[in-house]
């Protein structure tokens, strides 16, 4: 049934394309309005909440604008695949999208690239020595993809890890920026991402002022890179403080 022959979404194609070109043209000008009325350097309101799923040892739900992500953490539990002798634990990450996450219905399969990125962003923060010979599974499900998915997943995941009581050096918070011509726009939405000239994403441990993951696409002058990085680092530390307060809240509730 699911594979009914030749079906298409009516909202596809022409009309969306127009929207994008429009967006594109606009973004070339020096000064333009973002569709959600934010200023260039303003992040979307972040809604975070731990303990979304009680089946897991820890979990968190994050909602940044239209982007909705839920992450559960299982373990530490015995490793599925037998490993050779090692005195540190294994961190296993998996990111998947719902079929309805994207405007055009997807396959809802898991996303290898994001899984790998998530792992890279977190492995530096998790104290693997604290659960030798066992595995901690971090599973993320993107309910709705509204732009800046990966940063949200990363932040949400580190929140879930904290909720699961996994030892970490610091929370990992992550923010991305897009660049349009001269402008740098923080925390882009999906349609902004669709026509950006370049993007830069940082995942970091603010308290230690350390970058755990950093990716950059498109063309950047060194000066612009600096500016973008500062912007992200700043936003990351703000986000981290929100995450902290969220954890404190849940801690108070439980006790």
């Amino acid at each position: 049934m699911a594979t009914t022959p030749m079906t298409y979404s009516p909202s596809q194609g022409a009309e969306r394309r127009q929207k994008q070109q429009q967006m594109r043209r606009m973004s070339q000008e020096l000064d333009w309005k973002r569709s959600d009325g934010r200023s260039f350097h303003q992040c979307r309101p972040a809604c975070l909440q731990t303990g979304a799923t009680n089946a897991a040892s820890g979990s968190a739900y994050a909602e940044f604008g239209a982007t909705k992500v839920i992450v559960s953490v299982f373990g530490p539990r015995e490793s599925k695949k037998a490993m050779m002798y090692s005195d540190i634990g294994r961190l296993n990450c998996n990111v998947s999208f719902t079929t309805f996450a994207t405007p055009i219905r997807g396959q809802g399969s898991d996303n290898k690239e994001y899984s790998a990125m998530l792992h890279k962003a977190l492995e530096g923060a998790v104290i693997l020595e604290s659960f030798p010979k066992t595995t901690v599974d971090v599973f993320a499900l993107v309910l709705e993809s509204g732009g800046g998915d990966l940063p949200v997943i990363i932040s949400c995941a580190s929140l879930a890890l904290a909720d699961a009581g996994i030892m970490m050096y610091d929370l990992v918070s992550s923010v991305s920026v897009s660049c349009f011509g001269k402008n740098i726009v923080i925390d882009p939405t999906a349609e902004e991402e669709a026509c950006q000239d370049g993007s830069l994403m940082i995942a970091c441990m603010p308290a230690r002022n350390e970058v755990t993951q950093l990716t950059l696409t498109g063309q950047w002058s060194t000066a612009k890179t600096n500016e973008a990085m500062e912007l992200c680092m700043d936003a990351c530390s703000k986000l981290a403080s929100i995450m902290r307060s969220c954890l404190k809240k849940s801690a108070n509730l439980s006790s």
């Binding site: 596809q12 690239e113 492995e123 530096g124 002022n209 350390e210 970058v211 950059l216 990085m229």
Partner: protein
């Protein structure tokens, strides 16, 4: 992957700290690089690049396709990397998949620019034949024959060389009818060369202890705390960046590494240019 004893690790770290690596190189010194073009005659362009025991092949194939609805004025480029089990028994079966994926993603990020196509090494609009109807699909395939570290840089170099050696058949549009697919005639004697001046190279800086090195061997890579791969074009602009390894980096260090990568990349580009010239000379 590579198992080293504490003693060896310590020796390697020491060498890097003292700027004298196990094979006598300095921190920012590449292994001797050798380049061979046209290794895959059936492809539109191909190259083989050797860095010490690291040995990769890149091939470019161009096929006629239809541009995506969202980008009617651009051609499509896709990059795939495969790790052949010949390089290491651990790549057998699905063993190489994870690494292959990582490399593919990194290359895409570093060579294809932003979603709008800005900063792409290859000018996608040069691949278009009929707006919204016909374009070239460029398939870039990397194959790792033998691996001794620094695969990403080697692959990127191979791709750059392969592109410079690529000829795209000249296409003339016959039926210029507006609505349905126009039929085109692909010439088999006339070929268009690519403008590859903009294609960046990738320089990976591997951080070991307090210092970082270029062109790490797999033994050195096993000691890395983290690594940053920067792709830089001739004009010294950054066209992409990825980080590997868990350990965090201080932002200032990152910026420092970027600028170092930038300067090293210019040397690499000149080396490649001469190698390309030499290779083409030997081909004729």
């Amino acid at each position: 992957m590579v198992g080293l004893s504490e003693g060896e690790k310590h020796f390697i770290r020491g060498g890097i700290a003292q700027d004298l690596r196990s094979d006598g190189r300095k921190r920012l010194q590449f292994r001797s690089i050798s380049v061979e073009t046209g290794v895959i005659p059936q492809a539109n362009g191909s190259a083989r690049v050797r860095l010490g025991a690291t040995d990769v092949i890149a091939s470019i194939k161009a096929e006629l396709g239809k541009p995506s609805i969202l980008r009617p004025d651009k051609g499509k480029v896709s990059i795939f990397v495969d790790c052949s089990p010949t390089a290491a028994p651990m790549f057998e079966g699905r063993g190489g998949e994870e690494l292959s994926n990582d490399l593919s993603v990194a290359l895409q990020r570093c060579l294809l620019g932003g979603t709008s196509g800005a900063g792409a090494g290859i000018d996608l609009s040069s691949l278009i034949i009929v707006d919204g109807k016909v374009c070239w699909d460029l398939y870039i395939d990397g194959l790792v024959i033998s691996s001794d570290g620094n695969l990403l840089d080697a692959l990127a170099a191979a791709i750059k060389v392969a592109l410079s050696n690529t000829g795209i058949p000249k296409v003339s549009v016959l039926g210029a009818s507006s609505d349905e697919q126009p039929d085109v005639d692909v010439s088999d004697e006339e070929f268009l060369q690519f403008d590859t001046s903009g294609v960046p190279v990738i320089v990976t800086l591997t951080k070991v202890g307090r210092h970082y090195i270029v062109d790490a061997t797999s033994e050195e890579e096993s000691q890395m705390s983290s690594a940053i791969s920067v792709s830089v074009n001739r004009r010294g602009q950054i066209c992409g960046l990825t980080k590997r390894g868990g350990a965090g980096l201080d932002p200032s260090v990152v910026l420092d590494m970027i600028s170092v990568a930038n300067s090293v990349s210019q040397q690499l580009i000149t080396v490649l240019d001469s190698e390309i010239a030499a290779a083409e000379a030997s081909e004729e």
